[in-house]
């Protein structure tokens, strides 16, 4: 196929050609970035939590009446909850993943360090890690005799020194002591120090206010909660049993203490789904925008293609009369579109890169991976070819006899 005649025709239609190029370039730039944003959101929605998500249930219950013995109340609640058929674990904890409410503290690596190294979250609750179903990768979980009552520790500053041990996540260990095993290391929290006795594969923070990079900076302490300082009951049950267990647990909690308000009863799957709600909505919106953009661009190409075909009817007739086949005419318009698309795509790549730089600056996005460029190019080439097919076929159908009329 000869490209030169096409180029010389395009030179006579600079403005229209330029518009098509610009439209393709903008579409290419925006679609590349939008698809990248979608992939970022989808990736975020897959975020690793480190807990047995499909098996966990959270029930938030607040006691109304005066609590004379909050600790005994908590123990009785947990015993009743564990008796529910299907429940394989129960714990009363201070915080739960994906609930957007968290207890955090500054972490230092030495007793005299002035500025904290980082800020990590604190999980409290007897049997919390076992119930959550975290995976131990080194060391051990807490022994029963290592647990202290949170209330007592809070009341008596001296007891704080007795807490002594913690379990942390692999990611936190790697961040604090890169390349070393965290086991046996000591960290300093306020005036007390604690030794790492166990490392779990992961345990996500309940809220990601400090950014996704610190999502796994979590610590678990051997502290026992009671109903006056915690209200989140976490239950573990097989996925199919969860609905039944929720009903049973609410009944059990009400029975144990009729003066209770159940604030929330949800599976962790539901909680997680709510947590990523915004990401899902945004991804959906971006998909819609991408489709709409591609459709609008395709319609634009159809419109201009039709116009050109109508305008060049006589020229096509002449070519046909001089011996050009239908296929030649078809190819002519297809090649023309391919040329325009190629220039547009090249321009679009530069623009896509620029938009990405802007987004990196304002929305803390990573760099656009190079793979998006060839994919974007292929998509736009395809769309261009599909869009121009109709007008090109109409052009190919122009009979040679047109050449003889009304010149």
């Amino acid at each position: 196929m000869d490209i030169l005649p096409i180029l010389s025709t395009l030179r006579r239609h600079k403005v229209t050609a330029f518009l098509v190029i610009l439209e393709i370039a903008l579409t290419c730039a925006i679609v590349c970035n939008a698809v990248f944003l979608i992939s970022q959101r989808l990736e975020r929605m897959q975020m690793f939590s480190g807990v047995a998500e499909h098996e966990l249930i959270q029930i938030q219950a607040v006691s109304i009446g005066k609590q004379n013995d909050a600790a005994a109340r908590a123990q009785e609640d947990l015993i009743r909850l564990r008796q529910i058929p299907g429940v394989t674990g129960a714990a009363l904890v201070n915080q739960v993943p994906f609930t957007n409410s968290s207890w955090n503290t500054s972490v230092k690596l030495g007793p005299n360090q002035k500025q904290a190294t980082l800020n990590a979250t604190q999980y409290f609750g007897e049997n919390l890690l076992q119930t959550f179903g975290t995976r131990l990768v080194a060391g051990r979980y807490f022994n029963a005799d290592e647990y202290l009552d949170f209330e007592a520790v809070q009341r008596d500053q001296k007891l704080q020194a007795k807490v002594g041990v913690i379990v942390i996540t692999q990611a936190l260990g790697e961040r604090l002591w890169p390349g070393q095993s965290a086991l046996g290391k000591t960290i300093y929290l306020g005036e007390t120090s604690v030794r790492v006795i166990g490392v779990v594969a992961g345990l996500i923070r309940p809220a990601l206010f400090n950014g996704d990079a610190s999502a796994q900076w979590s610590m678990a302490f051997p502290l026992r909660m009671n109903v006056s300082n915690a209200n989140r009951y976490v239950l573990r049950a097989a996925p199919n049993d969860r609905d039944r267990v929720i009903a049973g647990a609410v009944a059990a909690l009400r029975k144990a203490d009729p003066h209770r308000v159940i604030i929330e009863k949800k599976t962790l799957d539901e909680i997680r789904s709510g947590f990523f709600q915004n990401d899902r909505a945004m991804a959906g919106l971006l998909v819609g925008v991408c489709i709409a953009l591609l459709v609008v661009t395709a319609l634009g190409i159809v419109g201009l293609g039709s116009f050109w075909v109508a305008q060049r009817r006589r020229q096509i007739g002449v070519r046909r009369a001089l011996g050009a086949t239908r296929r030649n005419i078809l190819n002519y318009f297809q090649t023309e579109n391919f040329l325009l698309a190629t220039i547009g795509i090249a321009l679009g790549m530069v623009l896509a890169y620029g938009i990405n730089l802007f987004l990196m600056l304002h929305y803390e996005l990573p760099r656009l991976p190079a793979v998006y460029f060839p994919i974007g190019a292929i998509v736009l080439w395809l769309i261009g070819q599909v869009a121009v097919l109709g007008p090109a076929m109409r052009a190919a159908a122009v009979p040679p006899v047109v050449a003889t009329r009304s010149v």
Partner: protein
């Protein structure tokens, strides 16, 4: 002449329905998307209380005694500083604000107990923020100091508990204390819930929650503190508090202080007062960084906190890029349409129409496409806002197209189509006359 152009435009649009439809769709989709996001953006970035915002200020000091070189104070202040500053009464009006979840029942209404959020505030709150009352009133400064057991409730809660009737004089049980309802608010929906905004700049733009509804129960500050003791949560602490949830005299920050200052001299005087207080507390060893005092106006505070969700901002960018593409599309199609009519234009020119007349006629046609596109775009924007309302974002119920945005839809649509029409109209009006006539 204009009517004639309109007629011509109408005929021309009817002649090639496909091309017309393509242009209208392009404009409509672009306008629909832009107006949807623009409406949401305006809703979220607007002034929550236009009549008063210029005189409302958020006061901050840095009460953390631990050394360090932090540049900004915490977003909220500690109890002692808050009460000291409040009770000095140096501003025209001032209010302390804290919130806590509280167990609530209406003893004479047969509904189960719930856990709404209670705002505990001082008397000036209602007058400062222009809070509208349906029934009754707020409380007096005397009620604050007397720890009067009274409450003001939201219109929502009044509807839920009392079916919207005048509930002034009825009783609410908050935790274990009975309080008397003395006021019921009219529906009041500041957006964002500006007086509670704190800590948002840590949220990385994930700030949709700032646009939720107001609290359901308002109690006097000290009354609330007493009746819900142990249930308050801190913003942050530099030591663990001795009793969790009990934050009076704790090493924690958790209280907001808003002041109303009538003019700039009062603002300067209040800032001086804050500085003086911080310096004096430094002498007492309670403050390490006396220079960290701030007195931001309401809009400055919202800016500093970055309350507009970053997703919404991104969507607005996207919508306008989309509109740009739709415009390029329309330019191309208009060009195609006008140049195709070279013969007709040639005849008009030969009969004496000036270039300006041809240009005007083409623009009228472009504007007509814009008008129809705007109409369809308006429907699309309504559909888009309906979609926003279906989402479970806290500001969903606010997403409506008001009169000014309705007008803006058409202004934007016609402006966009005229802009798109300029180049094609220019080209059409410059077509060489002879050539066009010859081809007829």
């Amino acid at each position: 002449m204009f009517a004639y152009y309109l007629d011509l435009a109408f005929r021309s649009l009817k002649r090639n329905k496909v091309l017309t439809a393509l242009m209208v769709i392009a404009i409509a989709v672009g306008i629909g998307a832009s107006m949807t996001t623009l409406t949401v953006m305006r809703l979220l970035s607007g002034d929550p209380i236009p009549a008063r915002s210029a005189h409302l200020f958020y006061a901050q000091i840095d009460p953390d005694p631990t050394p360090g070189d932090r540049k900004e104070p915490y977003d909220v202040i500690d109890y002692q500083s808050a009460v000291d500053l409040w009770s000095a009464h140096r501003a025209d009006r001032q209010t302390l604000i804290i919130e806590s979840p509280v167990r609530m029942r209406a003893p004479d209404v047969n509904l189960p107990a719930t856990m709404p959020t209670m705002a505990s505030i001082t008397a000036d709150f209602f007058s400062m923020f222009d809070v509208p009352f349906q029934y009754g009133n707020g409380w007096t400064a005397e009620d604050d100091t007397k720890r009067a057991q009274v409450a003001v409730i939201s219109a929502d809660l009044n509807q839920k508990l009392f079916g919207g009737a005048n509930s002034v004089g009825r009783t609410l049980r908050l935790r274990d204390t009975d309080v008397r309802i003395i006021g019921v608010l009219k529906p009041w929906r500041p957006s964002p819930l500006f007086y509670m905004v704190a800590g948002a700049h840590y949220a990385n733009g994930d700030t949709a929650d700032l646009y939720s509804k107001t609290e359901d129960v308002f109690t006097p500050f000290f009354t609330g503190l007493e009746l819900n003791d142990g249930n308050f949560s801190q913003y942050t602490c530099w030591h663990l508090p001795d009793h969790p949830g009990h934050l009076r005299n704790s090493p924690c920050v958790w209280v907001r202080l808003w002041v109303q200052l009538g003019d700039s001299s009062k603002v300067a005087a209040y800032k001086q007062f804050l500085d003086g207080y911080a310096a004096q507390q430094k002498v007492l060893g309670r403050v390490a960084r006396p220079q960290n005092t701030r007195l931001r106006s309401l809009m400055q505070w919202l800016d500093y906190e970055g309350v507009v969700p970053s997703d919404v901002r991104l969507q607005t960018w996207l919508a306008f890029a989309f509109l740009a593409i739709c415009l390029f599309n329309t330019i191309g199609l208009l060009l195609a349409k006008f140049l195709r009519r070279g013969g007709e234009i040639g005849v008009r020119r030969a009969l004496g129409a000036t270039r300006g007349a041809v240009f005007a006629q083409c623009l009228v046609e472009a504007g007509m496409v814009g008008l129809i596109g705007g109409l369809v775009g308006w429907l699309l924007a309504l559909a888009g806002l309906w979609l926003v309302r279906q989402q479970s974002v806290p500001y969903a119920d606010l997403a409506h197209l008001d009169a000014s945005m309705f007008l803006l839809t058409f202004v934007l649509a016609i402006a966009a189509s005229l802009l798109a029409g300029v180049l094609p109209a220019l080209r059409a009006s410059r077509l060489p006359l002879g050539l066009q006539l010859k081809t007829l």
